[in-house]
Amino acid sequence: MSNLSVDHLLGIKYLKKSDVELIFKTADNFKKIINQPIKKVPSLRDITIANLFFEDSTRTKLSFELAEKRLSADVINFASGSSSVKKGETLLDTVNNILAMKVDMIVLRHPNPGASVFLSRNVDAKIVNAGDGTHEHPTQALLDTYSIREKYGEVRDKRIVIIGDILHSRVALSNIYCLQKLGAEVKVCGPSSLMPKHLDSLGVTHFSNLKKALEWCDIANVLRIQLERQDVNYFPSLREYSMLYGIDKKILDSLNKEITIMHPGPINRGVELSSDVADSNHAIILDQVENGVATPFSTWFLLAGKIQGN
């Protein structure tokens, strides 16, 4: 099997299908390791990874750090809130200062789209994009797609609808790329005001009716309404959004088939998902969290394999 075709994980757009398959195959093996009495492996013991989070994160940061520690890497964490960024330091200066401490890999979450691409062109370290503004969130797409593959055996020909704020969602864009690469059919659903202009160029069509979308799909990936990214109001009220696009048990019971519910978290309970759905057997939300360790594990492992030997 050939190596990853990329040196950094900047976005799913830049990956080949074979890259995604290699990451998944390696993740399968890591899931075995999670069940061993000793869950740590020495693969990255001579690697230092800096997690640079210029935006808040709970799950991503925790699961990345766990994956890095399971791989025996040395990990340093950085959160912009408590750093010199507040004093006006540029991204490049911050990163170069960290690299001067001999860091091999940088995991970057940043509010500006393209921040990780910019870094990869300017610094000598492997870069992982952990979310850049409204652009891409490749590790989330990998774990979502991996969770579908795990539940259904394969992703090919599955019908997935992504519901919610597609306009501001990096998760949606990365998911569309990843699922399409593996041969799935993807559509989106949500208020027209939250749809990006160039949806057609992604090969994706839009449902404005939730019931129709759910009847079409095998899997519904429900996104969080990101109130922090909406400087203007895209819909009249949360209550109205919830009535039109919120998924509750009633609407699932009205379908003549069983569908799987996914959510990248954190859930706004009662807005996009009701509690009885989020906690039901339909939901694989906690499987997604578990795979949120396995897929970064395999990605880091494969990227580290591309670092030249000391």
Partner: protein, 182 residues
């Protein structure tokens, strides 16, 4: 140009495996506290052959066995061109207090066995670990690792390759030495 020479054929492999089995029995008797562990990927074929043969000889069909994947325990992750593609870690028992026999087809630098021992320790603290190998390329070791049971000792140059073929993947059981001519 490549030059190949057969060093073990189908018949001699059968004889060698039978001898190795008897040597194992001398030490492990009924195999009550012994676990045979093949090193993925290629040690698994030899492990299966030995297991089959032992079950016939000692009339025990419950000999514990598994296969260890060393991918995440290797020391050359950043020193190779090809990616490490993991195989299945197939050890479903605790190795605590067991006598483990590691089984691999070729012992060369000893680095795979070092990784395998490291990986084994995550399944408990074995009482002992021994090494069985079909081919021992002595004089090529990077680490102080020696086998306890050897099929055949071969003195080969570092540039020469030993190829072990199994019926399961190439249709024939044989061991070849491949010399590359200048």
């Amino acid at each position: 140009m490549l030059e190949e020479r057969e060093i073990l054929n189908k018949e001699s492999i059968v004889i060698t495996i039978e001898r190795l089995c008897h040597q194992l029995i001398e030490t492990h008797n009924t195999f009550d506290n012994t676990v045979l562990i093949g090193v993925q990927p290629r040690g698994t074929y030899l492990n299966n052959r030995i297991l089959e043969k032992l079950e016939l000889i000692v009339c025990n069909s419950n000999i514990a066995s598994g296969n260890v994947d060393i991918s995440f325990y290797r020391d050359d992750l950043m020193r190779r061109d090809e990616p490490i593609v993991p195989e299945i870690m197939d050890i479903n028992i605790s190795l605590e207090g067991k006598n483990v026999v590691l089984i691999d087809d070729v012992l060369f630098t000893g680095r795979s066995i070092r990784s395998a021992i490291d990986a084994l320790m995550t399944f408990g603290r074995p009482r002992s670990v021994e090494l069985l190998t079909l081919i021992d390329r002595r004089f090529s070791r990077d680490l102080p690792i020696q086998p306890n049971y050897v099929g055949k000792v071969i003195d080969a140059m570092e540039s020469e390759k030993i190829i072990v073929e199994w019926k399961e993947n190439t249709g024939v059981d044989r061991v070849l030495i491949r010399k590359s001519k200048q």
